[in-house]
């Protein structure tokens, strides 16, 4: 019983410390607005979410992924990436071939 409790604590500590998000935004551009009922930092923002697993071949690198949602000539206003314990585990057990990508972003108006 004591072993299981210790294992549970360790699991929780690792999970919680490896699960976080970081948000970047440009300071001098207007975000794309939306009328939603959100009650978080994105209240009033039009938020897109990308939640996927990307696969990398062994022989290639320098990947990038295109974001098609923003209007002509408009870039990103905000990007938030999130790491999770599951995502880190997936990356580790596949030796970096599979990466869990979880981002939120807002375009410039």
């Amino acid at each position: 019983m004591r072993f299981f409790r210790t294992a549970l604590y360790c699991y929780l500590i690792i999970c919680l410390s490896s699960c976080y998000s970081v948000r970047f935004q440009v300071e001098n551009a207007q975000w794309e607005p939306a009328d939603t009922e959100r009650e978080d930092a994105y209240a009033g923002y039009n938020v897109y979410t990308l939640d996927t697993v990307v696969t990398r071949k062994l022989t290639t690198g320098q990947h990038y992924f295109n974001i098609p949602d923003c209007s002509l000539g408009k870039g990103l206003h905000t990007v938030e990436y999130r790491t999770t314990f599951g995502g880190m585990l997936l990356n580790a057990v596949t030796f970096g071939r599979k990466k869990k990508v979880k981002i939120k972003y807002v375009c410039i108006k």
Binding site: E27, P33, D40, K109
Partner: protein
Amino acid sequence: MATTKIDERTRWDTLHKNGPFPLKRFLTTKLEKTSTGLNDFARYNDAATEVQRLIQRAADTHERFRAIGSKWSMSSIAHCEDRMHFNSFMNLKFSIFEGEMHENTAYEHSNLFWLQCGNQIKEISIFLEQRGKSLKTSGASNGQTIAGCISTGVHGSGIAIGSVQDYVVGLNLITGPRPEDILYIERKSKPALRDTYAQNFKAIVIRDDEIFNAALVGLGSMGFIHGVVIEAENLYLLHRYVKKIPKAEALQLADSLDFNNYDPKIPNADFNGVHPFHYKVFMNPYNTNEDMYAVEFIYKIKYYENYKSDFGNPIPFQKEFVYLDLIYLFIKIAEKIPKAIPKLINALKTSILPKEEKTTVGKLSEIFWDAGFQGRAFACSFGVDHTQSSKALELLAALTRKHPVPGIFAMRFIKSTEATLGFSKFPFTCMVEIDGIQWDDDENIISLKEYSKKMIEVLKDNNIPFTLHWGKNANWEFPNLTEHMYGTERVKKWKKVRNRLLSVPMQEVFSNDFLDTVKLSEPLPLDDDLIV
């Protein structure tokens, strides 16, 4: 063609969650794409045609129609149960050239800009800065649309400037579905643009001070504001410093606004005798022993390119907010134990109040930058003559100590407006406001409705003339409120102009529950119209 997406909905809420309110349809109009090759005048006129189609549809179905921008108002002024029109994507901007100016104008053409309704303050500032210009003032943040700002009277603390509507020099209204319902209005006493320029927007020109002043703060009910012409000015910098000064000194400055012989004693700067661009007093109503008040002095200084190397970036690299969950926990405690509110406010004051003794220098758009969502907010804001500001503050603070609510007070000061129903109607209006986090009605704590009613009563009982910020919380059902604030003649003047601009059926289309509540939706009887 501009396109409108119509969403069937059951409810709608403000940004600060002061509702929810019932709603049938939510309309979002987007401009014709630039890839079609249309120029901006054509895209603007195309949007006007689309708005007229939507107005016609509302009239045909005997429904009300209301334009909204960023829904920052906390009162229900932006709400309408039938059709709400989100116009933030209608954001074209036009510079004005010399040949487009009225022959008798006193304005400098390079300072004038025609802005479509959905332009938000931040994007306008960016557009202007690319041309070496700046807005004259803004609210405390930058998310509102220009049409929303002027409809409700958004203000900062521009002692010499006034509110946002006070630098608007022309209005483009759509008052109905017919071609002759597209109007361009400016003051006869201060003409700005040639008729031929307004005709680019297919607008009929009206030059009339009374009509312009009434339509300026139109409460969303003088038709659809499609565009505004603003007067900007050359870029400038603001020097901001927050410090604590003796309470008596802070209040004496508020009551007198006399800075002629006042030295704010700001390190590395000499503003002795200089009138500040902005003066704000913060006040925690629960700290009765406080003999020092935090005050914010902002002075206007000449713009120069390298100010960031002297003062650093006014926008912090890392912006921090108190956890919303912590705020909501605070409110739950407050609802159950209102006596704990003073202690909770004092515990959070370092997070609520601005950092002291720190100089910040930046452009207007940098000083009044993005405001993060801080939870379900409320705000009650009263306009009083600045000479009565300390008295009004003391009365409202005493009321708040008697009926504690989770908020703190501030006072800001605005020059008088010419708008007929502008709440900054005094020569210098002091806006005494309490901002805080909403609470749920509970038997232990006073309701917001009751609290705001008592605020009105205490000012009335003490013979302090007042106005209320149209976009903030108040007991709007209070009997005879609008006439008490503005007087019968002003209310009649406003209604008379509404009669002139809008047919009776269109007055119904452009009304809402808020307007009904404040007794402004009813058309002025024809006899009264002739008398005023």
